[in-house]
């Protein structure tokens, strides 16, 4: 979707503010939200990583910009807990389970944490899928504007570049986010000349590289 999250190339967002000796979390609740998210995402389905990203993207734009990073995560979590039927809105408001609601067994227990924080479930898929492009091919990012989740930023749509390398087969976030299957396909590192994207104001030497799925690309 053409959401406010798709920020590449926007202007007027202000200076980049850096914080010396920045802590990992700025408040205790941020760490809890982070950890809760990590655990809940192992449930899959509506908790999957792409659905998570799309959930953040569909926050109302003004809210998205106002919220801090982990506030967005928390807003997504509150919504998804209900959507996934893991809790009801009434239970969230009460802070306690409804009488007689079934008690589940946690998917992540303490002994599983060390491997969980070290291992990240890969989006790479070991399946044979034909690749439409190869290194050196000139390609154009399709001029498409899906209303659902996509990882094709607006600033490259309709622009031409070159495939630098075929990264292999990965699940497709555009379908996975909507629980419509993984649709595994080739992912390519595509190099766009900075001037193709931004015109004369960019340096003729510079480039921007994006990892783009087969379905995002066409022959120019």
């Amino acid at each position: 979707m053409n959401g406010v999250h798709d920020m590449g190339g926007m202007q007027g967002m202000g200076p980049i503010v850096r914080e010396p000796n920045e802590p990992t979390f700025h408040a205790g609740w941020e760490g809890r939200v982070f950890a809760l998210s990590r655990v809940l995402r192992t449930r899959g389905g509506p908790w999957n990583l792409d659905a998570f990203r799309h959930g953040i993207e569909t926050l109302p734009p003004a809210e998205y910009l106002r919220m801090t990073y982990y506030e967005r995560w928390f807003a997504w979590m509150l919504r998804t807990v209900v959507a996934a039927e893991d809790a009801t809105q009434a239970e969230i408001e009460a802070g306690v389970p409804a009488a007689g609601s079934p008690r589940k067994a946690p998917l992540v227990t303490a002994d599983a944490v060390p491997s969980m924080v070290a291992l990240r479930s890969s989006a790479r898929r070991d399946v044979r899928v034909a690749s439409r492009f190869k290194a050196g091919d000139e390609v154009r990012a399709r001029n498409m504007h899906p209303t659902g989740h996509t990882r094709l930023p607006r600033y490259v749509r309709g622009k031409s570049g070159w495939v630098v390398v075929d990264r292999g087969v990965f699940l497709f976030p555009d379908t996975n986010a909507h629980l419509q299957g993984e649709k595994p396909q080739h992912l390519y590192s595509v190099r766009f000349a900075a001037r193709e994207l931004w015109g004369e104001q960019a340096s003729p030497r510079d480039s921007v590289h994006l990892d783009l799925w087969d379905d995002y690309l066409e022959r120019p």
Binding site: P20, V39, A87, V208
Partner: protein, 242 residues
């Protein structure tokens, strides 16, 4: 707006604000939050609305058996105390002292990183980008906040912020200048927008004059920002800030 407003009051105010004003305010809000030392009140002194709401959700999910509280504690602890830029710095320093290792790192980052004892599945989709006198790589995620967690820990707020995400692709040289990195016209800037599950780590240039230093001393020089591409490595350590 003043940094002394409480978060709840600020939220109510902003709900009525126009989107543009909210965008500006969001950054201000973020600045306040990220610079508690500059604020004229302590954000932690009184449990905030968010502290209470997050605690309530956690309790509910624990009660329902969906999450285990100890595992949450351990995850927070791992990212606060174990997983951080020192991991990436060790990889960089090894590459500086061992040309064969560097070659392996650039061709198969996952395997080379695993050689140092890091078992990271994310590593399999990791790519290392070498900075040099004529090429400067810079990493961003314009769509969200993708970042090589196992090597660098969780990203700093600026990396996840609208100003960096919006500008890194359209004005990388301006961004680098803001970070104190001046590049000549003869240097090629390559920006890497992390749009998929490939994670990028920059291998910064080894600073001139560091030839006498051993691997441990070199590790101490490598900063987080130099592995994102927003800094060069200096001979004198610049502390944990960068």
């Amino acid at each position: 707006m003043s940094s002394s407003e409480d978060p709840v009051g600020r939220r109510d105010f902003l709900k009525t604000a126009a989107a543009g004003a909210a965008a500006f305010a969001a950054e201000t809000h973020q600045d306040d939050r990220d610079h508690p030392q500059n604020s004229d009140h302590d954000h932690q002194a009184v449990p905030s609305d968010l502290t209470l709401r997050v605690k309530a959700l956690e309790s509910l999910l624990v009660e329902k058996g969906l999450v285990d509280r100890t595992s949450l504690d351990l995850i927070v602890d791992a990212f606060e105390t174990k997983i951080g830029p020192r991991n990436g710095a060790r990889v960089v320093a090894r590459a500086w002292v061992d040309p064969a290792y560097k070659k392996r790192l650039l061709s198969n980052a996952a395997a080379a990183i695993a050689e140092l004892g890091f078992t990271s599945h994310q590593g399999e989709d990791m790519v290392v980008l070498e900075n040099g006198p004529k090429v400067h790589n810079l990493v961003v995620c314009t769509l969200c906040s993708c970042y090589p967690w196992p090597m660098l820990g969780l990203p700093p707020v600026w990396y996840k912020s609208a100003p960096y995400r919006s500008r890194a692709v359209i004005d990388p040289r301006g961004v680098l200048t803001e970070f104190g990195v001046e590049l000549g016209d003869d240097v090629e800037v390559r920006v890497w927008d992390s749009t998929a599950e490939i994670r990028y780590l920059v291998l910064p240039e080894r600073p001139a004059g560091s030839e006498h230093l051993g691997e441990d001393a070199l590790t101490a020089l490598v900063t987080r920002d130099s592995m994102i591409g927003t800094a060069k490595v200096a001979l004198a350590p610049r502390g944990a800030a960068a």
